[in-house]
């Protein structure tokens, strides 16, 4: 064990000395999840609970009037509320809500509402929004002011001096988070001065921002519970309009109200990843150096601005560049953060562009990338994924393969970056009781990343205990404060606080035990479930014996954020191998590989799961997903999980997740980085396989055939 430091300065032990962390740890809540016992907000059932439904406006823009009286007459319906009337601002805007004794009765109530719509002109896509005389979707028109970085003349001059120039437009559709647990809450307010709000959210404490005001209570009178939550991906902060409706109904009726969005509503009113249109022009020298870059980017984020990372070319270094970014507004729900907001859009266009330049220069796309990435970590990662995917033996590196029977096999690459650092805001109470119990408590939430497990694991490591000797309590606003989970900041914010608290407590416990055992405190070693004098093995207590010296008040300490235990700034590279049938246009992904750095890996298995999950989502985005709204009728055409398809088992290729163990830094969050490059790598692999350059996601078979000149 590392030399003991003062309690205020905990340090991660050397990796070789770790017995719990940096290993494969089955999740502590795994048994509850695999047996169906984990309780999500959707599963909360309370005595006298009512089921509520929200009525969403089916048109993008309309003058709405409501007659709620018929709904009130439906048997079982106990409450009907208006959420808005007048002119709606977006497709799917909630206009009313109903609470009833059963879900079926709530649906009856919803259907009984007389909704009168006078359609108003709308704009639901880029073309409609930018047409002359288009109806206004944004507050100040449909196109925002430009954000320009760099000098266009310098960049154009650099391009003019290039040996190879590519100009192309890349488009990415609006994507949905498609969380399997829809957005929603159960509000339990039966009058009086106490309420409990169960919420499917990425921030336990964000519930206390919204709910108390709606209930007419103070935040000290409201408890937020997030025991388990079924996916958020950036879309779930606060309680949302649906949560406000549930608060209003619960307050009005004095009963618990369960309001989870229906799947079709989830698709139109619960956020999305903004679409993107990027017209890029870039030049490179004969020897493969990137010279000039001009980018014209629009974000399509509904009534919101959408996301795009920074104002420079994404990751790759050009000598001169100029990037213009603006938002186009439509009458659709506002984009929300979605796993690495803006980055997957930027990455796809940039990685495609870089690949096109390499092809024009007949250069190996892997070498071309390595030459233009300043950070050496990328070169290490690219080499690793190239080896794993079989690039060294791949026959056609600089041109599409010669096709046999119309089938091509190709490999493509892409890289990613993210912050992943943390900050203040998480505090953790660690407590030992005299029966040997150890509990770490913090109000944080687990989105599926394995927070519960690493909270327990860090404490177990500190005391030389097995993982199952520590209980992690989370998801409750009565516990110590925690920040919401956004931007992959949770691990780097929370883990240092857990470590800090555990180290403080170990110091306190060691001081106590030193007196009892008659051993110098500095010589006490916590390992293997025992506390022992490292110089005299006869002076040793089992964990139970050691804890028995405590009084009934036990021993506890509160950990606070210690910034030197975390770091910031990560890298990743991915490779994809595909098989393209040029007769049908079908793309089959055969294998994906990712190498990712993340500082100290707390739970290697959970990290590999994050990496693979990122690749799965990128594959799904690249090949399958696209929100479709008919511009004429204004209807959402694929607001269900059949027509809006996400990757299913038959689409999943072999996947290899590699953790970069050369990264010696403290903990860093990695989830977002892993979703950034996969679809770009697939697009480049498709080109390498058959020469079809797909610049428009999703890469459906018709687009492959069109790119090959076989159709339209």
């Amino acid at each position: 064990m590392a030399e003991r430091k003062p309690p205020s300065a905990a340090a991660w032990p050397p990796r070789a000395a770790l017995t719990v962390l940096n290993h494969d740890l089955p999740r502590v809540d795994g048994p509850a999840k695999v047996s169906g016992r984990a309780r999500y907000t959707h599963d909360v059932r309370l005595p006298g609970m009512l089921y509520a439904r929200v009525l969403c406006c089916p048109l993008p823009c309309a003058e709405v009037t409501l007659d709620l009286a018929p709904a009130r007459k439906i048997p079982g319906v106990e409450g009907v509320i208006e959420l808005m009337t007048g002119k709606t601002g977006y497709l799917g805007q909630p206009v009313a809500a109903v609470a009833a004794r059963t879900p079926e009765q709530a649906e009856d109530g919803l259907r009984a509402i007389v909704l009168t719509l006078v359609p108003k002109p709308w704009a639901v896509d880029h073309a409609q929004a930018t047409a002359e005389g288009a109806p206004k979707a944004g507050r100040n028109g449909n196109v925002s002011k430009e954000n320009v970085a760099g000098d266009a003349k310098d960049a154009e001059a650099a391009i003019a001096g290039a040996d190879a120039v590519v100009e192309a437009t890349y488009t990415l559709p609006v994507q949905h988070h498609a969380c399997l647990e829809t957005h929603g809450v159960v509000v339990d307010y039966r009058g009086g001065d106490q309420a409990t709000v169960y919420c499917s959210t990425q921030g336990t404490f964000t519930v206390l921002d919204d709910a108390p005001g709606e209930l007419g209570l103070k935040s000290s009178q409201v408890t937020a519970i997030v025991d388990h939550m079924g996916g958020g991906f950036g879309s779930k902060f606060g309680i949302g309009i649906e949560g406000k409706a549930a608060c209003m109904l619960s307050k009005q009726l004095g009963k618990p109200v369960h309001l989870m969005l229906e799947r079709p509503d989830e698709f139109v009113t619960a956020g999305n990843r903004s679409g993107s249109r990027q017209t890029l022009r870039a030049g490179a020298s004969r020897d493969g150096k990137l010279l000039g870059f001009v980018g014209d980017v629009t974000k399509l984020g509904g009534t919101g601005g959408g996301s795009f990372p920074g104002s420079r070319p994404y990751i790759y270094s050009f000598e001169k560049s100029c990037v213009r970014v603006r938002s186009v507004y439509t009458h659709t729900d506002s984009a929300r953060a979605m796993r690495a907001p803006g980055h997957p859009q930027a990455s796809f266009a940039m990685e495609s562009l870089v690949d096109e330049l390499a092809a024009k220069l007949a250069m190996d796309p892997l070498e071309f990338r390595k030459r233009n990435l300043k950070d050496p970590v990328y070169r290490r990662h690219l080499d690793a994924v190239a080896r794993e995917i079989g690039w060294p033996d791949h026959p056609n590196k600089t041109a599409p393969a010669a096709l046999a029977d119309g089938i091509g096999v190709g490999i493509g690459f892409a890289v990613s970056t993210w912050g992943g650092g943390g900050g203040d805001g998480c505090e953790v109470d660690v407590r030992i009781d005299r029966d040997g119990s150890v509990v770490a408590s913090v109000g944080t939430q687990d989105l599926g990343t394995g927070v519960r497990t690493y909270v327990a694991a860090i404490v177990a490591e500190e005391f030389g205990l097995p993982l199952d000797a520590v209980v992690a309590r989370i998801g409750d606003s009565r516990l110590a404060s925690a920040t919401p989970s956004g931007g992959s900041t949770t691990t780097a914010s929370l883990a240092p606080s857990v470590k800090n608290g555990a180290a403080k407590l170990r110091g306190m416990f060691a001081e106590r035990l030193a007196k009892t055992m008659g051993v110098d405190e500095a010589r006490l070693r916590f390992a293997g479930g025992r506390v022992a004098d490292e110089q005299d093995s006869k002076k040793s207590l089992s964990w139970q014996q050691a804890c028995a010296v405590l009084g009934q008040e036990g021993l506890s300490a509160r950990g606070t954020h210690q910034s030197d235990l975390a770091a910031n700034g990560i890298h990743g590279a991915q490779a994809a191998k595909v098989r393209v049938d040029t007769l049908t246009g079908r793309i089959e992904v055969l294998k994906m590989v990712c190498m990712q750095d993340c500082g100290l890996p707390l739970n290697r298995m959970a990290i590999r799961s994050q990496i693979q999950g990122g690749m799965v989502q990128a594959l799904s985005y690249g090949l399958l997903e696209e929100r479709v709204i008919d511009p004429q009728s204004g209807w959402a055409l694929n607001a269900n999980l059949e027509d809006y398809k996400i990757a299913h088992p038959l689409e999943i290729p072999e996947m290899v997740a590699l953790i970069d163990d050369e990264d010696a830094r403290g903990v860093i969050g990695l989830a977002e980085a892993t979703v950034i490059p996969g679809h770009g790598a697939i697009a480049n692999a498709v080109f390498n396989a058959c020469g079809a350059r797909i610049r428009d996601l999703p890469m459906t078979p018709d687009k492959v055939l069109a790119a090959l000149g076989k159709v339209g």
Partner: protein
């Protein structure tokens, strides 16, 4: 079990569609559809073509769930998923409501040993059938081999799809304990996971298949 006793009313009054429509007020359409489906499915059970049972409002029915007789009040249109999650006391919430239209597999249960989407079945049709839910497979303290394998391989992240995947693959392995990757993938092809745990799910299923084919439980 006699037909009339299924309503739970010892002296069932003759129900007519007209009565049903009157009672249902403004929701006639839903009622008619539900009755149509009900009549059709009862016919499938072997009832004579003219022997149509009409139900209205809430009726108490008996279901066999995880080997136990359970009584539950449902409407004719209540799905099995609705009965399990919202009407049973205490409820069984392991099967998840995600799409409500048979598109995602999150509500997969077993009916007479075969996998089925609970959101696509009417509870009243399940009288006399053996229903098994995720809760009937194993408990946190005594996981079934496939569940233990899911845990070991980290085949659950947010975990919302997990019960459905476990039940789909369990059915697949009960049909063929020697199932390979292709069969396992086909066996859960209708199940969606947004976190992207499919690679771990395949690993878990393959390991469980190996154990089962060696004579495990």
């Amino acid at each position: 079990m006699s037909r009339t006793s299924k309503t739970g009313d010892p002296n069932p009054s003759p129900l007519s569609r007209r009565n049903f429509l009157k009672g249902a007020g403004g929701v006639a359409t839903g009622g008619v559809i539900a009755q149509g489906l009900l009549a059709g499915s009862l016919g499938e059970e072997g009832a004579a073509a003219g022997d149509v049972e009409e139900l209205s409002g809430e009726v108490e029915i008996a279901l066999e769930i995880n080997g136990e007789p359970r009584k539950v009040k449902v409407e004719p249109r209540t799905t099995l998923l609705g009965a399990l999650r919202d009407r049973l006391e205490p409820p069984l919430t392991g099967a998840k409501l995600v799409c409500d239209r048979g598109q995602c597999g999150a509500c997969t249960v077993h009916v007479d040993g075969r996998p089925a989407y609970a959101c696509m079945l009417l509870a009243v049709d399940l009288r006399g059938r053996k229903i098994r839910t995720i809760e009937g497979l194993g408990s946190p303290a005594a996981l079934a081999p496939l569940q233990a394998s899911f845990w070991k391989h980290d085949a659950s992240m947010c975990g919302f799809c997990t019960p459905g995947f476990v039940m789909a693959i369990q059915a697949c392995l009960e049909k063929n304990p020697r199932a390979g990757l292709a069969e396992i993938r086909a066996g859960c092809a209708g199940n969606a996971c947004r976190c992207g745990t499919q690679p771990q799910i395949f690993a878990a299923a393959l390991e469980a298949a190996t154990q089962l084919s060696k004579g495990g439980k």
